[in-house]
Symmetry: C3
Subunit: 142 residues, 3 copies
Amino acid sequence: MITIHTKTITESTAGFCDIIDITAKFIEHISAVRMRSGMATLFVNGSTAALTTMEYEPGLVEDLKEFLEKHIPSDRRYHHDARWNDDNGFAHLRATLFGPSLAIPIVDGAPSLGTWQQVILLDFDNRPRRREIIVQLIGECQ
Amino acid sequence: MITIHTKTITESTAGFCDIIDITAKFIEHISAVRMRSGMATLFVNGSTAALTTMEYEPGLVEDLKEFLEKHIPSDRRYHHDARWNDDNGFAHLRATLFGPSLAIPIVDGAPSLGTWQQVILLDFDNRPRRREIIVQLIGECQ
Amino acid sequence: MITIHTKTITESTAGFCDIIDITAKFIEHISAVRMRSGMATLFVNGSTAALTTMEYEPGLVEDLKEFLEKHIPSDRRYHHDARWNDDNGFAHLRATLFGPSLAIPIVDGAPSLGTWQQVILLDFDNRPRRREIIVQLIGECQ
């Protein structure tokens, strides 16, 4: 029988392109409901954050920050900044590019991630934030 | 009981990086089938359009257009243009980068979007288009 | 009745931004289980590969390679390269940007792709690889 199990993961971030590995909390939810086979949707409900996967190691985290700073710099003005004066136009642009969602199959009780592939939260905002990631599992449990 | 509800949203666009907020039509479909808990897949079936989320306000729309014009300019030739002579290679590249799909959980009868987070259609083509976005809901209804 | 059908597609790639059309194998899986209506999740389990959709033709493949070489060049050093000395920092960055997953509705027995829209695997690594793409279908079969 197919059932639905939804949970919210929360993360306190430092902002400023903070990159956080949420793989363990994601797997914990799968284990808690004993899902064997199904689909996971992960979604961050904010317009200055995003989700993707990467090999989570300090060098690559630095590479990603440099890449974003080069192409969507934080030290210039954006049209968006004129609206709210919160100066985070760059954060919105970055989030729009990466997107808020991931879909990951669950096979034999585990997400089908590669060995060097972690699920990461990217917080692009220009201040610390408390982030919510909705993790929804649809599938068959034990 | 889990059921599937598929609907096609249509939008008439102006092309040229037209950015359209489709959140209301998306929510309308959730309400129409009275879904309480489940998963929404949104997909645009074209290779010069894309879906993502953003805070939909004119300043940010302008920022996104400028960003794309800078990094994938519309005023140069692409290899693709030699094939069909429709001069929209830039539109294809942009769409490939953003991707055609979004996965959004539905919790307590509503999509788990943030307050300032809208679902948007990006039409990158170099002419007006009629676009179809397939919205598929899988979950439990009232 | 809603059921789940998971299959792994394998592809031998040349690496170096190899772009492979996996649409036929994806459709084959839908046909094999006779799914009429449902949702497909496609996921590549590696941190130097990605999935997206595009019009698969040689000109556009060339455009995409040039775009990536310009913005995330393969001929410079990245912080990541210092870690493992495998010199593929550029491949990781590219994969992180595109993302590993796609969600595609299945309607009337077929994926809701546009006529000129193929599902593609992007292998960014700096050597040939054997890639696995997990294709998971959730829905109603005949």
